[in-house]
């Protein structure tokens, strides 16, 4: 039965695994070549690459036929990117945006997780606050921007606050849901050992809620990037938002696309960083 399922290409030596005299569970080293192949060569990677190349080719094709004022092919976008890097313009814009993004996201994470935990930990506090948080959650944050400008002007502060508000509620509500959903057995076990309140929080509730917290952080990360661009384009014209807006007004579409791609990359990298942390922290999952 089992033999029939082995692939023909497998060397015969593998069949010693089927020898009932050997231990049922064995550890073996994966050869480096095999490991590399597994990492690089899954079929979907090849398909993804093909899709990307096709899309770029189509873009290039139509981009060259369209007017320079309305569209730009990847080749011109690449050239524009090189120019903007050489002049230092792109780096400055990215730095400007990144500072606000990281500040806003970190603030959202700290406030969101603490308030979310507090709401889950002190039931009355949570139940009291919940309707208000839910109401704030549905307020479109863009509508708050004029008020932000009145209160904080056009500097870094209002941008950070907008980014923070964009990411905050997802993080907060997920942390809150996490604490409310901790398996009661997890709590019971800790209590039977006479755990202190602090230990209950540190050693039972906190690790049990991590999956929820990371869902919140992941969604929060992508929303923070959206908040960042909104702030940079809507009022404090600066950073990558400024790159996009100013170049669009002079019909430099190649440079506009550089801005768009840079913003997207920042989003991707921030999410990837959150996911990498998640994998590190929750090793038991794989």
């Amino acid at each position: 039965m089992v033999r029939a399922r082995t692939r023909r290409s497998e060397p015969a030596a593998h069949n010693e695994l089927f020898d009932p005299a050997t231990p049922r569970t064995q550890t073996r080293v994966i050869p480096v070549r095999l490991r590399l192949r597994r990492a690089l060569a899954p079929r979907d990677r090849a398909l993804q690459l093909a899709l990307l190349v096709t899309a770029l080719a189509a873009w290039e094709f139509f981009g060259r036929r369209a007017s320079n004022f309305t569209f730009a092919p990847p080749s011109r976008v690449a050239t524009a990117a090189r120019e903007m890097i050489e002049s230092g313009e792109l780096q400055d814009a990215v730095t400007e945006s990144l500072v606000a993004l990281l500040l806003g996201f970190t603030l959202a994470a700290v406030i969101g997780i603490s308030v979310g935990y507090a709401m889950g930990w002190w039931r009355t506090f949570g139940r009291t606050l919940n309707p208000f948080v839910s109401a704030l959650y549905v307020v479109p944050i863009a509508t708050l921007v004029p008020a932000m400008i009145v209160w904080f002007g056009l500097g870094l502060t209002p941008r950070v606050i907008v980014i923070m508000l964009f990411a905050l509620f997802e993080i907060l509500l997920n942390a809150y849901a996490g604490v409310k959903n901790v398996d009661p057995h997890v709590i019971d076990v800790a209590r039977t050992f006479g755990a202190s309140r602090l230990d209950l929080l540190r050693k039972a509730v906190f690790p049990a809620t991590l999956p929820f917290v990371f869902v919140g952080l992941r969604i929060g990360a992508s929303r923070a990037v959206k908040g960042m661009v909104l702030a940079e384009m809507l009022f404090a014209v600066t950073g990558l938002g400024r790159v996009i807006i100013e170049n669009a007004s002079t019909f430099r579409m190649d440079r506009v696309f550089v801005g768009v791609i840079a913003v997207s990359l920042m989003g991707v990298i921030l999410s990837a960083a959150v996911q990498a942390t998640e994998r590190r922290v929750m090793r038991w999952r794989d």
Binding site: D183, H185, V186, D188, V189, A190, R191, T192, F193, G194, A195, S196, D199, K203, A204, P207, A208, L210, M282, W284
Partner: protein, 297 residues
């Protein structure tokens, strides 16, 4: 709240008498001052867990009405020191409620639970619980799970803790699995870890809620035999909940039958120890007890 006596490192006590046959016995014993005194004085049949007119109700709201269930009681009974007591009952008969009351995880609606002469006000490491679904922490390795009780109850220092953890993993036959995560273990192995975790704090009393309820019949019998072996090495009071008549009879000194929250029967099991789960099931006395328990159940 804590048990200062448990900090006595086992091996130090064991050194003097650490010879041949008594060896394994002492190694798992972690003797508490109390236990030693009790054994030395030969005190027997001393009540350690006492339930007085114990009653627990649950109220569930359904729209304009509320449903009140008397989950347990009123119940009055005493459990003697170092006894293995089986609590037998069908689903919904109040077994889990009884165990949680003794553990201090829920409070009585009326009546009292006394453990070692003290009214139970909450949970504590003198009464370790083994839960039905092993309830291991998935983010902790097997080793760290077994260490959990020692950390939370602050019963042992780091070095001592490691020693205790390894000894217990060996005891339940999982010495090689310390580094595994629970989701990498079979159900039976997880239950063994749950048992080791409970034993790690050397509880005076062990409360087990259908610990082998979710494993197959053969494994269940094996785990029962293993529990007996461990208990013979280091006796303590065990309250063992089960819905299996055979399991209750094989393991227990005394079987209490719960029915609709009340004690329906209370039988002393005088089958000889140590017991062999295989052989005992053919014993005529066993068969007779089994028949009578099945009738009351």
């Amino acid at each position: 709240m804590q048990n200062p006596d448990v900090e006595v490192p086992v091996s130090e006590n064991a050194h003097a008498a650490d010879q041949e046959e008594g060896d394994e016995l002492r190694r798992v014993r972690f003797p508490t001052v109390f236990a030693v005194a009790r054994r030395a004085n030969g005190v027997k049949d001393q009540t350690v867990i006492e339930l007085r007119e114990l009653c627990r109700t649950f109220v569930v709201q359904r729209g304009r009405e509320e449903i009140v269930t008397r989950a347990l009681g009123p119940i009055t009974l005493s459990i003697a020191d170092l006894q293995f007591v089986g609590i037998l009952g069908r689903s919904g008969s109040g077994k889990t409620t009884l165990l949680r009351l003794i553990a201090g995880l829920v409070q009585p609606t009326a009546g009292d639970v006394l453990v070692d002469g003290q009214r139970v006000r909450g949970p504590g490491p003198d009464r370790a619980v083994v839960f039905q679904q092993s309830a291991l922490y998935p983010w902790r390795t097997v080793e760290a799970n077994v260490r959990l009780g020692l950390e939370l109850s602050r019963l042992a220092k780091k070095g001592t803790a490691d020693e205790i953890v390894h000894r217990l993993l060996d005891l339940v036959g999982l010495g090689d699995f310390g580094g595994y995560y629970p989701n990498q273990l079979s159900g039976g192995m997880q239950q063994r870890v749950g048992l080791a975790r409970a034993l790690a704090v050397s509880p005076r009393h062990l409360l087990m809620d259908e610990p082998f309820g979710s494993v197959d019949a053969i494994l269940r019998r094996e785990l029962g035999a293993e529990l007996l072996r461990i208990w013979e090495l280091d006796r303590r009071t065990v309250v063992f909940i089960t819905h299996s008549v055979e399991e209750a009879l094989t393991l227990s000194d005394r079987v209490i039958v719960l029915k609709d929250g009340l004690v329906a029967d209370d039988v002393t099991i005088n089958l000889p120890r140590p017991r062999d789960p295989e052989a005992i099931s053919d014993d005529p006395a066993f068969l007779q007890l089994r028949r009578s328990l099945l009738t009351t159940l």
